[in-house]
Assembly symmetry: C2
Homo-oligomer: 161 residues x 2
Amino acid sequence: MRTLTPQPLTPEAFAPFGEVIFADPAKAMDINYGNTVRFNDLARVAVDGGHAIVSLFRSIPLEPLELKIMERHPLGSQAFMPLNGRPYLVVVAPPGDLDPDKVQAFLAGPNQGVNYAPGVWHHFLLALGEVSDFLVIDREGPEDNCDEVELTEALAIAFRE
Amino acid sequence: MRTLTPQPLTPEAFAPFGEVIFADPAKAMDINYGNTVRFNDLARVAVDGGHAIVSLFRSIPLEPLELKIMERHPLGSQAFMPLNGRPYLVVVAPPGDLDPDKVQAFLAGPNQGVNYAPGVWHHFLLALGEVSDFLVIDREGPEDNCDEVELTEALAIAFRE
C-alpha cells in the first residue's frame, strides 16, 4: 500500500483541479449599504446540458482510511463547503486517464471549500474524526455523469507530525 | 413604524417564497458505499440566460434593526446557507408589485438555508447578534438582475418572548 501525505490546501496548489472556496480578500466587495462583504464568484458552477442543484452531504469518516476508488464527473463541476467547522481530506488526480502516481492529497481547513472542475478525478468526500455536513453544488441531468475507477494499489494517508 | 414578529422557518410556510435548505430525511439517500448520506436536490438553482456562481457573504448585523428597502432578482434564484452555526432573519414578500402588507419575517435556525425563487422580494441578508458568514449560490450574467423598492413605512422586528 502506497502512502500519501496531505499538503495544505492553497488556491495555487489546487488550481489544476479546481477552486478553493474561502473568504478571499482579493474578491471582496461591499454591498447592501455596507452591511455585507461579498466575496464574489469564488467558484463557477459547470452543468453541461443539465442544471445546478444544492444538496447536503452528511459524511461518515472512512475507517480504515484506505483509498481504493476514484471517481469523476465529466459533465459538471462539484463544489463542497463544510458546515460544521471541521477539517477534511481532499484527494484528487488530473483529468484524462487516471494516473495513480499523480494522485494528491490536501488537508482542507474548516473554512475552506473546494470545487472540482469537470473531469477531475477525486475520492469521495472524506470527513475526518466525526460525522460532518457539507453543502454541495453540482449538476443534475438525464445523462450518466459519474465514472469510477478502482485503484490497483490502495492508498494510505499519513498526516504530518 | 410597523412591527413584524418572525415566525419559525418551515418548508410549508416558506413555500410561496422558495425552498428551505436542511437535512430533510425525506430526501436522504445513501451513496459512496454507505459513507455518505446525500440529502438530494434541496434547492434548484435558476439562472435564466446566465450561469451559477458560488460566493461567500460576510453579514454585519443591521443596527438599528429597521427595514427600509426590499429587493428582488427577476432572472435568478439566490440561495444562502449559514456557515457559522448562527440563526438569522429572513424577510420576504410575494413576487409581483411589492405589497408592504404582505411582507413576512422568518427566524431561520443555524442549520437552515433559504433559496429565494426568482422575483421573490426580500430584504438583504440579516445576520443576528454577530458578524456571520453565508455560502451564496446565485446568478451571474450581463443583464441587470436587481430591483430595489424603498418601503414607505419602515418595519421593526419584535422577537417572540
